[in-house]
């Protein structure tokens, strides 16, 4: 491994930029992601920054079972994120549709159908600590030696 690569690995571990996109949730998971920002959980001490801008993001958080409006737009957002990138789904909705997975629903879960999902955090809603844990355990291992693996 080159020195440059090990430097990149070290830096990427401590600098994860997050964009979250709400594809039809009940807002419960949204506010738990926002709660991660609070000084109690302090997302930024781990080097995670919530920008909500896909162009500078590394990790995309997907919240909610996918509504018809988002079917094509989710892929568009995913394509805007520069490599290396990872998508993490928050809550039960992107996994199974949760309470909205009923015959008359308009949502079309899972989110896996539209973009590749690296990790899933179940819960309705998951606790802020679980969200932080998922980002911290998935992102550094995915981004490690990315240039070599490519």
């Amino acid at each position: 491994m080159t020195i440059l690569q090990s430097l990149k690995n070290a830096v990427r571990q401590r600098s994860i930029h997050v964009c979250y996109v709400d594809t039809g949730s009940c807002n419960g998971c949204d506010i738990e992601v926002l709660a991660c920002l609070s000084p109690r959980y302090d997302l930024e001490q781990y080097g995670i920054y919530v920008h909500n801008n896909p162009r500078e993001a590394d990790v995309l958080l997907i919240i909610g079972g996918v509504t018809p409006q988002w079917e094509d737009k989710l892929m568009m957002i995913w394509e805007k994120i520069p490599e290396p990138k990872a998508a993490i789904s928050i809550g039960n909705c992107p996994i199974s549709g949760c309470v909205f997975s009923r015959p008359a629903t308009l949502t079309k879960a899972p989110a896996q159908r539209y973009i590749p999902i690296a990790a899933e955090v179940p819960g309705c809603p998951p606790r802020p600590t679980e969200i932080i844990e998922a980002i911290l355990s998935v992102a550094p291992s995915l981004f490690k030696d990315w240039e070599v693996k490519r």
């Binding site: 949204d30 609070s38 909500n52 409006q69 309470v99 308009l106």
Partner: protein
């Protein structure tokens, strides 16, 4: 022909300050906003369609997931609607505990709304302080109901769990802390010169305009309309509730009104803890057939449920009217047109505390 519109600027659906997807189309002349239109439809899940034909036990949990921020009030109003249909009475202790949970929920909702506003005008320090105070309130909600967000605390005929004196003492202690902190942050918000520049006189809506567009909740109360459905609720009447009203009608007034309501909610919680009657927390009863309309005051304004059930308590028809749709219209029609820069569009929009998830359901 004279040119009146320079360029049409779309904001959203994925935007750094929007928690939820929606698109605001602004027609601008220079930096001046002439007109605005809010485009919705990114969050339509069809909850009312799912609810039809299902028993109330299932609809109760769906009603809670109409809106995750103010989940307790959706639970509260839906359960009160089925109780009104089936003439179920609630023990006095349970009625007080319901209001306790509802006021804790209102406090956390207002705190996150004020956080969003501070974040939008890029005063992150105050926003983070508020978010920390909100965590204290969320802890108390968890102590009382067992969950942070979707609690399902209220059931027909009463509430799920009782509280003991230790829990009440802990809530009382936290309220003292929250009130002290809220007074401090309210003073910081009121006296901050840069906050004043971004807030005072921006996004103004007069009382006549608010009446015309049927604004509800804190947005209407900040324009001088004393509308609050809590005044019609029997438990709140016993607690001698009276709404807070301000008259300026700008961004500053809406945020300050929410600070005042947080303090008012803390006072209500203290009164409830001091006067909490003993007795049972569940009265029992079965949900029967009927049709009715019931209203309640959500953190964002008037919330209406119209429910029709059959003899087994299955929901045959349901329609929900949530407060944010009125406030979003008020925003697009009166608050945003006339602001002098595009940066103030998001500030005016966020100050009315829109909740897209419950608007579209």
């Amino acid at each position: 022909m004279r040119k009146t519109v320079d360029v049409s600027i779309p904001l959203g659906p994925v935007h750094p300050v929007f928690k939820e997807p929606c698109r605001i189309k602004c027609e601008t002349f220079g930096e001046q906003i002439l007109a605005a239109e809010v485009e919705l439809g990114y969050m339509k899940k069809g909850i009312e369609r799912i609810m039809v034909g299902r028993p109330w036990q299932e609809v109760m949990f769906l009603a809670e997931r109409v809106c995750g921020i103010c989940s307790v009030i959706h639970n509260f109003v839906f359960i009160e609607t089925v109780e009104k249909i089936s003439k179920i009475t609630v023990p006095e202790r349970a009625a007080y505990l319901r209001v306790l949970a509802n006021e804790l929920d209102r406090m956390q909702s207002h705190l996150i709304a004020n956080f969003s506003y501070c974040y939008t005008i890029e005063h992150e320090t105050l926003g983070m302080y508020l978010l920390n105070t909100r965590e204290r309130v969320m802890d108390m909600l968890e102590y009382l109901t067992g969950a942070r967000v979707t609690c399902a605390y209220i059931v027909p005929g009463g509430v799920r769990f009782d509280v003991d004196s230790e829990d009440l003492g802990r809530i009382m202690q936290t309220m003292d802390l929250v009130v002290e902190e809220t007074h401090r942050y309210r003073e910081m918000f009121a006296s901050g010169p840069l906050i004043g520049l971004r807030s005072k006189g921006i996004g103004v809506m007069t009382k006549e305009q608010a009446e015309h567009i049927h604004a509800v909740g804190p947005t209407a109360r900040a324009c001088g309309i004393a509308t609050d459905l809590r005044t019609d609720h029997p438990t709140y009447q016993r607690l001698k509730f009276s709404p807070v009203v301000r008259t300026e009608g700008d961004n500053f007034a809406r945020v300050m009104l929410r600070f005042d309501e947080i303090l008012q909610s803390a006072d209500l919680i203290r009164t409830i803890i001091n006067t909490l009657p003993g007795g049972k927390i569940r009265g029992g009863g079965t949900v029967g057939r009927g049709e009715t309309v019931h209203r309640g005051e959500a953190p964002r304004g008037e919330l209406t449920y119209r429910v029709k059930t059959d003899t087994h308590g299955r929901v045959q028809e349901i329609s929900i009217q949530t407060p944010s749709i009125m406030n979003i219209e008020a925003c697009a029609r009166y608050m945003i047109p006339g602001v002098t820069s595009v940066a103030d569009v998001t500030a005016a929009y966020i100050s009315s505390d829109p909740c897209i998830a419950c608007t579209e359901r």
